[in-house]
Every structure is written in structure tokens, then in C-alpha cells.
Symmetry: C2
Subunit: 138 residues, 2 copies
DNA sequence: GTAACTGCAAAATATTTGCATCCTT
DNA sequence: AAGGATGCAAATATTTTGCAGTTAC
């Protein structure tokens, strides 16, 4: 996967900078989702808080990562899978949050069943957040 | 529904105060979920920010209201239905957020289908956030 | 060389805590 | 009367904005 971050950046017409590469690498190296704080601590190099905010926003705008809604309203980001890139956002996501190790996994491959909503409601997008025990803690 | 807020407070062994009654009334009067800001603006009487924070926290602790996970990570609260009171929290919720009028509705009565998770994952609780157009905007 | 990105400073916003006072029971 | 709730002040935390200097292309 060497150079994957570089590819992704080029692919999205973003100029390749230290911070973007490092932050993207962090996502690529992790199975789970990352919080702002995780990024701040783990990039090795210390980037400015503001740079991290802006970089994350840029990635979200480009559809490289997405935010995850959490019950405790902490802000989490995860890589979008290929189908999501280029702004053609994959509209349904399942996220699993482990109560034990706290890892957050984006399960893009699982299909969300169609929900029966009351008359008049037109659903566009669904986010499912499941919490419990993950495979590694089980 | 006169006095409903009073009943709920007594039922949860909370002392009955102005702010608690007013804030609870607000929830009872609304179909949708409320953000901190909504409460600050709509109680008629102006309560201290801090009081609102503390009151909401108390209500969450008692299981009177619950937080709603949102994609944009704004903090929303909604009334729990009866089954949720007394800390016996109803573990599955569907929330519908209207892209047009922004109302957030807690659809307690809709059952969340069981999801097929990969081996080893033990789900405990699911939150579903559906966005689209609500019945009134449609 | 130009446009875009970064870091720093500072503003704006959101949330938490301590404490004295007031209200509910 | 006693314990808990509120309001105020202030500490902390989070996010945004402006701008000058630097970097990518």
C-alpha cells in the first residue's frame, strides 16, 4: 500500500503536502475511525490544530473521509471506501463501536435493510451506529 | 396533558423547579428533538446556560430524554417514550431528520431489522439516523 | 510565479467547575 | 432546617477566522 495516500490525493486534485499525506496515512493504517485528538497525537510530526481541522474538512468535502454520528456526540472520521470517492457518496453506512476497546469500524459492505417508515416520509440516507463487542474483544 | 411534566418529575424523584418544568414542557410540546440552542431561545423565561446544561444532563441520567447521534455532530435531545423511563432504556432508536425543515423525529415504534454482522461481533444497541424529507414537507 | 497550504494569533463558541445564594421538600 | 438547584464568574475546551509567510505545481 505504499504510496496509496499519494494516489488518493492526486486522484482528488489535491496538492500533495506533508500534513495531508501523514494524516491520510494514519487513516490508511487504521482499521477504525479517528477522532481529532487521535490525529493530533499520532502523526509523529506535530501539525497545527488548525491545519488538522482544515485538512479533515477538505477530506470530507472531497469524499475521502466521512464523519460518524456517535451517541456521545464525539466527532469521529473514517475513510470512505472506493465507491464514496469523488463526491459520489455512498449513502448508507453501518458503523460498529466496540464498548470494550472503543474501536469504531465502518462496515461499508453490509447492506442496511430497507426500513418501513410512516406514510409521507421519503428517506434519502441512513446511518446506522451499532455498539457492542467487536470480534477482537469477543 | 396538563401537569404531565410534573408527573414525570415526581415519578423520577426530582424536585420540581421552574426550569425543569419549563424545559420538560418544551419537550412535551414538540414532536421533534431539541438542541441546546432551541431550549435557550424558547423557554420564555431565560434560564442560565449552565442550568440548561445541568437540567439536560439530569434528564438524560434519569432516562427522561436521550441524545441523538447526528451526522454533523450537533447535539440533539429527544423525549424517551415510556418504555425508556426509569433507566430501563429502550436500546434501539430510529431518528428521522428532515433535510428541508430540519425537524428531528424519534420513531420509537419502528423496529430496527436485525443486521447481519460479521462473525465475532456482538451487537448490543443500534441507533439509526435516517435523513430525507418528512411527511409535512413532502 | 501564482495559487494554494500552513502556522500563529486571536476571536468566537461551547462546555465544565466552584461557590454563594435561593428554593423545594 | 437540610439538601439540592440555580445563577454568576471564571476556567477549559473546541472550532473558526484573518493574515503573513511558505510550499506545491
Amino acid at each position: 500500500m505504499k504510496g496509496a495516500s499519494l494516489e488518493i490525493l492526486k486522484h482528488n486534485h489535491l496538492s500533495v503536502t506533508e500534513s495531508r499525506k501523514k494524516i491520510l496515512d494514519l487513516f490508511l493504517a487504521n482499521i477504525g475511525a479517528l477522532a481529532h485528538a487521535d490525529i493530533e497525537k499520532n502523526t509523529g510530526v506535530q501539525f497545527d490544530r488548525v491545519t488538522i481541522y482544515r485538512t479533515l474538512q477538505t477530506f470530507v468535502d472531497k469524499g475521502i473521509i466521512h464523519t460518524i454520528p456517535t451517541a456521545d456526540n464525539s466527532v469521529l472520521y473514517a475513510l470512505c471506501k472506493d465507491e464514496c470517492e469523488q463526491g459520489h457518496h455512498h449513502d448508507n453506512h453501518i458503523h460498529f463501536i466496540c464498548d470494550t476497546c472503543n474501536i469504531t469500524i465502518c462496515m461499508d459492505h453490509i447492506t442496511i435493510p430497507v426500513l418501513k417508515l410512516p406514510k409521507g416520509f421519503a428517506p434519502k440516507r441512513s446511518d446506522v451506529v451499532v455498539s457492542g463487542i467487536c470480534n477482537r474483544c469477543n
